[in-house]
Point group: C2
């Protein structure tokens, strides 16, 4: 992230780090109250107690700003060792669902993804700031499960399976939460995890 600062000069007045935090927080606040389409940069600037021009000096536009504001939300994802692969996956699923339950994540994330379909640079930015950063969880869970003997050693060195798992978990939770709009509770997480695990264990011996 923060590829928005072109070159941190050694001289001159430094950029206020507090302003950065205030702007991103104000962006999330505005996303909650107004949603994506009615969010204006002028409004965000006012909420943050910052001049509109300051905002434009740091971000190219609405898209880039919201990506940074939303990316921070996903950094709280953790995968504590719960003893079994099933429990680990369930834990992450529920955490992910909890983040998606927050309105600033819901409208912000989907909106920037929509915009990224016409903007390759934006998509790359989303990938760096959000997607790839969380893919670590998949590797972490698999490594742990292999050490426990729950999963065979990875037969695929290109990690295509890891990408598939990530798409399934993230995609399914997002769809359940945002499109189907039904509760992503523990019962659902168990059913989903169970189905996924059966698929994973079986895929080792075709």
């Amino acid at each position: 992230m923060q590829s928005r600062t072109p070159v941190p000069r050694a001289t001159g007045r430094p950029r206020s780090a507090a302003a950065d935090a205030a702007i991103l927080a104000a962006t999330r606040e505005a996303l909650v109250e107004l949603g994506w389409s009615k969010l204006t940069l002028g409004d965000v600037a006012t909420r943050a107690g910052v001049a509109k021009t300051t905002l434009y000096r740091r971000w190219a536009g609405k898209n880039e700003l919201v990506v940074d504001a939303v990316a921070e939300l996903f950094d709280e994802l953790r995968m504590p060792d719960r003893g079994s692969l099933a429990a680990d996956i369930e834990g992450v699923v529920l955490q992910f669902a909890a983040i998606l339950a927050r309105p600033e994540a819901r409208s912000g994330l989907m909106a920037v993804i929509a915009e990224s379909t016409r903007d390759d640079a934006l998509r790359e930015r989303i990938r760096e700031s959000i997607v790839d950063r969380q893919k670590r969880l998949v590797h972490q869970g698999r490594t742990r499960a292999q050490q426990r003997g729950e999963l065979p050693a990875d037969p695929d060195p290109t990690s295509r399976t890891a990408d598939l798992i990530f798409d399934i978990v993230a995609g399914t939770v997002v769809h359940r939460t945002l499109v189907s709009a039904e509760p992503t509770d523990e019962e659902w997480a168990r059913a989903f995890t169970s189905l996924l695990l059966l698929g994973l264990r079986g895929s080792a011996a075709p």
Copy 2:
């Protein structure tokens, strides 16, 4: 769909059906060229050869218009009998991916989903126009597979499993295509279908 026509009166000049088609086509065209955020209703009206006021008389706003424009794209989804459950699923996955490869579907669909997070009426409209209409494919595939003996009879009368399958298939394909932005080709469809089927078959006998 077309809940936009409040009451079709018997008298007076009828609404031009050709205008409807022209407007929806123009909306998709504008989505391709401009994307969601830069799409203006004035531009759509010009492309369709229609006055801007006519457009506002039929749709409440950008959201509703794009939902209708995008919903038509998904009506072409079919599930011909390919002989096995695996082949049926693969076929639908590839068809779905083909639709999502079209830029008007990509940017339009995600954008209205993003807006729907702050607009319950819009979410309900998306559900009616797009989601529930395509859920038929899941039931169709399961019924066929049960007749072939590939799957046990549905132990769950509330069709929670069907909902889960739908979320997994639609969510995963969307995530793969729009977020991961990697090819949703036959090889990937095979791997995904294989994993899903192993989970489905196993979930009958835990």
